[in-house]
Structure formats: structure tokens, C-alpha cells
Subunit: 379 residues, 2 copies
Amino acid sequence: MPPEDFGFGTQIRKSPYFDATVRWGARAFSVYNHMYIPRDFGDPEENFWNLVHHAILCDVAVERQVEITGPDAARFTQLLTPRDLSKMQVGQCKYVLLTNAEGGVLNDPILLKLAEDHFWLSLADSDILLWAQGVAVHSGYEVNLREPDVSPLQLQGPRSAEIMVELFGEGIMDLRYYRLRECELEGIPLVVSRTGWSSERGYEIYLRDSAYGDTLWERIMEAGRPFGLRPGHTSTIRRLEGGMLSYQADADIHTNPFELGMDRLVNLDGDYEFIGKAALRRIREEGVRRRQVGLVIGGERLRGPNTTFWPVWQGGRELGQVTSAVYSPRLEQNIALALVATAGTALGTELEVVTPGGARPATVVERPFFDPNKKLASA
Amino acid sequence: MPPEDFGFGTQIRKSPYFDATVRWGARAFSVYNHMYIPRDFGDPEENFWNLVHHAILCDVAVERQVEITGPDAARFTQLLTPRDLSKMQVGQCKYVLLTNAEGGVLNDPILLKLAEDHFWLSLADSDILLWAQGVAVHSGYEVNLREPDVSPLQLQGPRSAEIMVELFGEGIMDLRYYRLRECELEGIPLVVSRTGWSSERGYEIYLRDSAYGDTLWERIMEAGRPFGLRPGHTSTIRRLEGGMLSYQADADIHTNPFELGMDRLVNLDGDYEFIGKAALRRIREEGVRRRQVGLVIGGERLRGPNTTFWPVWQGGRELGQVTSAVYSPRLEQNIALALVATAGTALGTELEVVTPGGARPATVVERPFFDPNKKLASA
């Protein structure tokens, strides 16, 4: 099917891998950061098994980068996040939260430090370039903020390391978790990092010249063929098993880091300023009124992910909402993330979830739901 | 078809009119400001004729509002736009551009002044709440910035006035172009304005309590039945006939107001500050290198809107890109907006447009392509 027949307009941007993903069987797209993202290559369970047994290649160019450079780049970057960056090294990546003056979460990007005065924020779904440019207006900091020509791919799954060796040679095995490296592939300029949004071993490959989109995609697919590499998309099943949040679904501008249980990403005791520090101090003192929990939902297997927020009840009282839910064919359970009043958040608490098909029992359980490799969760 | 079958997730927000639009025949949706917007009720030409002959009701809740209140609300709002707001009255609306420090356009919202210290920005597709909150951080201005519970509908077309009388009584005929009024409809709290994104006579109806989404939609459809009101969507054909721009397609952060020919929306000589003033002064002095033009494109009728940016050539040299193109069944012409190097922008210039189906001749023409009512364009 030629791209014309999808009915795409120019108001939503296409990735440099767009044509390649259509050629490789993308059947439906969603929109993320004003760009199309392939979200359907057939059966989502097959995509999940491809990911956990072999490897998948995903177009995540929608993780649009915000580049921070200039003499005050490091100080400005610290201003944007409650996570302590003082010991961050060149070549390191960090999962960070960005907060506004009220302590609300604006995004949960991966921060990449390419040089002492050169950072990228690899974004979840909100216009952080506008936020950062707005903050800079009166900040007095000397920084340059722009979107560079950078388009990431995710190569994720247990066979991803072998495919990376095929592409980049044995040296790539030295790349540690949450580290990045600037490199080339047959003249194509790249940054490669050991990160991803899958809870599996994996890599992100940041293309630094969109003209090579098609070439890069084909080159990786070719290298991956012997290892069972398939074109794919970020897996709702796997990321929920891993307890990873999807911004705009599981958190938004009205959610604070403590509600998400992300205390480890907030340092209120450093001697540096960041936006939201006073508000987060107050929230920590007062305590939160709701928390994110993992739920196992009873009843028959869910047909697909929830398409609305499902109310969560306890003893006739509404306590919150299921934000993401899906059936895990590996766990053979319906698993979910929910934001629930603290009264209903203790492990083992019995709750009721109101789905469009009726009420179901649910139990608060530990997250992640599945974690074969605890050390991955701690970076 | 129940909403579940569309495969919608919770990561993209649903409008309070979502269920109503599905019930009334919405077949496909796009995404705008992180929300679903119905973009297909069948034939887009039928939607166009419904709009120009009768009236259509469109869910434009995606025009998410940024509310600016507080003691410095007026000064802060002026800081965000190059348009002179000093004479803006309570009850007035203005089409404004928002610019960053480089003079790039971040959005082209409708600004509504509800009180001396109470403004709404009714947005095109970018996260201006984040921009505004970022600007506020170090600005020293005392403002509150949030998204209120407000969801606009557009009632557009020549019969819209009669439908409004049916709903609100004869008094609504006093509402002038680009004026707003706070009112109620059978207890439903609303703001009504004589604005819209159609180039036809029309109204926007801002629902102030999302719980009434379904009720309001049904009430308006019922009142409109004798006047031929149909459910619809913003019409690419009609907005292009009117030469109206679609943000992210025809302009983005790298486009400045002068390139768009929107000099009338930029006041560089006032004694107030706004973000981008110095940059826009420099651009005005140096002159722009490209300009938006209207094109009539030859050859057979286009099947649908362009799905990619089409290169524009002259004498073997690439001069720019077609940003939006469509066939107008009323004008019986292919019409387009393009950003072209100034050398190719004089009326009557002959250019070449490279479509996926091959090169076609094109001529630079005046915008709007169709304007039955010149006074509407001047507000």
C-alpha cells in the first residue's frame, strides 16, 4: 500500500524510516510528538514474542531530541530535572523526570551527555523544546536549544547484542548499560546507547543525518536476519510487565514523582536549584494522596489494552483509575498500572475495576510484574 | 462500531464529544495536541459542500485552552505575542502569533479576553501551556497558567446563524465577528464566539464542563436538523480556499511571521516588550529569503491532499516546497500553499511542482483563492 493511501497529511511529520516501515509491513500508525509512529505490524502478541525471544527493530524517531549546548549547558540541564546530575559523566545516559514549578511531571526522557556542554533529551510525548526555550527566556543562562537532525531506532531483545556485533564489531560489547558511544556505520553518523523502552536487553541507534533513514533501516534488518530480527513496535505488553510508564497515559502534568514512586529520581537535598524544588519539598513533607500501583485484574483475558481510564473502586468508594492494562500471554494474567488513593495501595489490597464489560476483582501486586534481570532496573 | 474497535489507547486523550462523534459516523481520527480529532465522516467533498451550503458541527476540543489569570495576566499575555493587545477589549477575540526569542512561530491561536485579568489561548497544534509555564518561571510576573476544563465545538457554515438563534434566541445576532459572550444553554455553562477555522460564517461554542459533552452535541444537532446541519470536520478544501494556514504543515518553529506575510500581526514599534521583538526587528531590516505564496497547480485533479512536502522548482533550481495542496471542487482547480525563495514569489510566476506522480506546472496567484466576504478576512 503506497503511503498516499494511508491518508497522511503534512501537518504530522514523517520519520526518516517511514517508507521503510511501510515497506516492511506497518499496518497502522499512531501519533507521538507530532510525528507518525508505527504501532501495528500484525499481531501485538507476535510482536511481544519476537521481542522476548529474538529481537525487534522499532522506529522511535518520535522520541524527538532537545539539544542543549553552550557555556551554561550543564547548569541549565540540571535546572530542568530533580535528579542529581553532578556526577554524570560524558558518555552516560540517565532516565530523568522533568518537572514544572508545581512539581508536576512534564516528561520522562532519557538524558544523554555527549560532552561537558552537550546534552540531548530523548523525549516522551510533550513539547519539551518549547518548555526549555521558555525557561531560557529570562534565565540569564547562555544556552542554545534546538532540535538536531537526530532520529532514533530501537533494537531490542535478547539477540540484539549479536546483531550489534554483526554491525559494529566485537568492541560494541564493551558498551555498558546506560552508556553511549558516537560511531559510524559505513559512513552513516550515529550515536549508539544501551537503552530502550522494552525492559529487554537492547540498544538505541540515533541516526544523525535523516538522509540515511532508509539505508540504515535496511542495513540493520539485513544484519539481523540470521538472528530472527523482525520489524516491530514498542510493546505495551512488555513495558507493562516491566512496570514502565507511558507518559500522557500513566502520568501527566498533574502527576508528581512521589505519586509514581520515583523518589530515587528526586534529590531535594543537593545544593543546586531545579524547577519544582520548593513544591516537591512541600509535597514530600505533606505526603501524597494517591500512588501508582500494579494490579492483577481477574476475569477472562482482556481483548486488548484499555481504551479508556477504568475506575477503581473499594467498598463502594471510587479510589482512582486504571491508566494502562493489558493481557500478558507470558504471565497469563491481566496486568495494569493504576493511580489509586493511598488507602488502597498496600500490597495485597483487593479492589474492583470497572471495565466497559463490567466490574472485575483486582489485587495490588509488586512491580515490575516480570523482571528476569533485576540489575537492569537499577541504572 | 464501539470505540474499543478503533484500537485507541489512553496515551492520547479523548474529547468529551468522542462518543457522540463515533455515534454520528466518524470513521477515522487524527491526533492533535495529544488528543483524537475526527477527520473523516465519509467523503471530504461532501463535508466541504455541507459546510459551504448548510452547516457542519465539528469537534475541535483539540484546540486545548491555555488559561492566563492573575494580577499580571494582561502584561504576561502581551509578552507572548507580537500583536498589539493594548486596545483589546473584554469580550474580544484576536488571531495572534506566538513567537520564540528567534522570532519563530510557536503557534497561531485565537486569543480570547474574558476579563481584564482572564485570557484563553485556543491553540493550534503545540504545547503552549509548557511554553507559557517555562516563560513564567523566571519572568517575575504573577500569573496562573493552566488548562481549564474547556472543550470547543465549531458550528460553521451559512446556516450557522439560524441554528444559533434556535439555540440561544435572537439576541445572539448582536454578537459581532471576533467577539465572545459567556452564556448558558439549558444550564450548560458556555462561552460562545464568532470565530472558526473555516473561512465561512461560523461560531465556536466552548463547553466549560466536560460532563455535558454528549448532551451539548445532541442538543446542537437537534436544533440544526431543520437547517441541514451535518456532523463534520475542519475542511482542508475550504481552509485552503481561504488561504488559512495549518500550523506544523504550513508553518513551524523555523518560520517567521514575515515569511507568512503576516506583517499586520507584528507590531515592532509599540513601547511594550514581547518575546522575539529584537529578532523580528533584525529580520524586518534584513528582509526575508522566502515567502508563503498561493499556487494553482496544473494537470488533472489531485486525488487528495498532499501527504508529503512537494519540491518547487524553477529553471532547474529548487526554490521551496508545497506545504498544503488540495483540489477545490468549487474552483475546479488544484490550489496550494508553498514556501518559496523570494525570487519565485511574484504574482504570475511560473513554477514547477514535483508531485509523487510527476512534475506539474504551477502559477503564483493571490490568496485567498476564494473570498466571498472580504470583511471577514480583516478581523
